[in-house]
Amino acid sequence: MTDGTLPMPAIRSFRLPLAKAAPVVTVLLVIVAIWYAAAIGMNARWERDQAARAGTQIAPSQLVLRTLSQDRPVLPAPHQVAVGLYDGIAGQKITSRRSLVWHAWVTLSATLAGFAIGTAAGSALAIGIVHSRSMDQSVMPWAVASQTVPILAIAPMVIVVLSSMGITGLLPKALIAAWLSFFPVLVGMVKGLRTPDAMQLDQMRSWNASRAHVFWFLRLPASLPYLFASLKVAIAAALVGTIVAELPAGATAGLGARLLSGSYYGQTVQIWAALFTAAALAATLVAVVARVERITLRKMGMQA
């Protein structure tokens, strides 16, 4: 990046977002409108039943108002979810068990720990596979086949088994998150480390470069775009893994436990609030990885 090219991105960043944002905002507004209509339609039945039981008639305008302010609606209206979110995030002490920030932190810490373990293990195995033909032929077919297996579905079992061995807390959840982020990283890294073509490898050989040199100066830099692409998949997968790992009965902390207790007690607003927190968390994590990707690749002279 030279100084001469600096103003260009600045100008672009002023003009593009508006042109891009208008359709997105329109679609979002339509979704919110549909949501309100659906909330009225789906909650109306309960109100009508209540009115019929009390032997009264309710006016349509009142019916609409009531459907949007039920305690346990079939589908909470967007503003109810917003209130639930605000209450969970800002209305409680962060250390409180009712605070979504606290639950999100429990989930986030396990996600990040698992993501770190999974990425490290996946990269390490990928390096081994690229350098050893027997490892490649032994492990890779199974790694690829394992992608088609619904691993996530056994997460609760792993938690129960580990807790029967006395391992509880953050580690079991992190292990599941690690397991889920392991395979995208492994497959992406193997692909990335293999991108240097024969010409580049020959060039390294003609410089009498050792295997370590080839790895550090050619293979690793070449693999980074692939690594980041799979890291984005991996961190989203790690979050999903952690949330599912929080589902088995007995878990009291984390967004998954929040979802489950909401579904047990019919607290729909709580479910939706937890769901939106999880969505925001996922979006933030992916965005952070994308940001690191852009900075790293730009420093290396590649365009992200």
Binding site: K20, V24, V161, A236, T268, I271, A278
Partner: protein, 280 residues
């Protein structure tokens, strides 16, 4: 001393694979993978037997196979309930909806610009989380599981299909225009075939998602059958061999599901370069 046979088997399998890997033919490649899998299974069996690992922690492969054979009728009802009704039913509905939505979006650039970022965003979200809500709406039976699967597979397929419908190049579109082709014909003869490789990519990704959605949704409530139900109750009774048997069924079902879609892909997109290479 008791670790010696385990280490011996491990080293033996490893040496055999290193020797076999040098040939690098399709046949030896398959053999190397098979030997690796077999070695892992044998090591697992030996470790469990020699160190007498409690069944609660890790059952031996032989115990799992025994449970698989013993509970085959139970496993079959679970398979029908979860895989055929929940996962497959939801997957077909979700895929059909996504394809139709993609064709609709393709006609409107405004919708493309508005829906695609949202579709990409939603595709990265932990959508499994809607399972409790949908179970509440659609009841405990397989309908709610299929609904979860519909939502889970919709966006990945939509995003891929929209990208595919745009994969025609200007020359092809100009050719169609110079023949004054009506929209329906150009969709059928040009855009849909061009979109097929992308569509199949989405379909393959979502096979696993469909199984995950169907099984996880059962943790939030189910009738007294289904793989998710069986896994959670068997864990409660510490009947781990049965749990592992369900996992084996899920794994085989997942692999077959993927393989069938891949096979259809090969038939339907035989003209695509990625398939031609496979045929040698």
């Amino acid at each position: 001393m008791s670790a010696l046979p385990i280490i011996g088997l491990w080293l033996g399998g490893w040496a055999l694979n290193i020797w076999l890997a040098r040939f690098d033919r399709p046949l030896t490649r398959g053999a190397v993978a098979a030997i690796f899998g077999l070695t892992v299974l044998l090591l697992w069996e030996m470790t469990v037997r020699i160190y007498q690992v409690p069944t609660i922690i890790l059952p031996a492969p032989s115990q799992i196979i025994e449970s698989l054979v013993q509970n085959r009728s139970l496993l079959l009802t679970d398979f029908v309930q979860t895989i055929l009704r929940g996962a497959l039913g939801g997957w077909v509905i979700g895929a059909a909806a996504a394809i139709l939505a993609a064709i609709a979006i393709d006609r409107s650039p405004f919708l493309q610009k508005g829906l695609l970022p949202i579709g990409n965003f939603v595709a990265a979200l932990p959508i499994v989380g809607i399972a409790p809500i949908l179970v509440m709406w659609f009841g405990f039976d397989w309908h709610s599981k299929a609904a979860v699967v519909v939502v889970m597979v919709f966006f990945p397929i939509l995003v891929n299909m929209v990208a595919g419908l745009r994969a025609t190049d200007a020359m092809q579109r100009d050719l169609m225009a110079s023949w004054a082709t009506p929209y329906a014909a150009s969709l059928w003869k040009m855009r849909l075939p061009a979109a097929l490789p992308f569509l199949f990519n989405g379909l393959k990704i979502t096979t696993t998602l469909a199984l995950i959605g169907a099984i996880v949704a059962e943790f939030f409530g189910s009738p007294t059958k289904g793989m998710g139900f069986r896994i959670s109750t068997a864990v409660g009774r510490l009947d781990l061999p049965l749990v592992w048997a369900e996992i084996v069924v899920a794994a085989i079902a997942g692999t077959c599901f993927y393989a069938i879609v891949a096979l259809i892909e090969r038939r339907a997109t035989f003209w695509h370069p990625s398939q031609r290479i496979n045929r040698g």
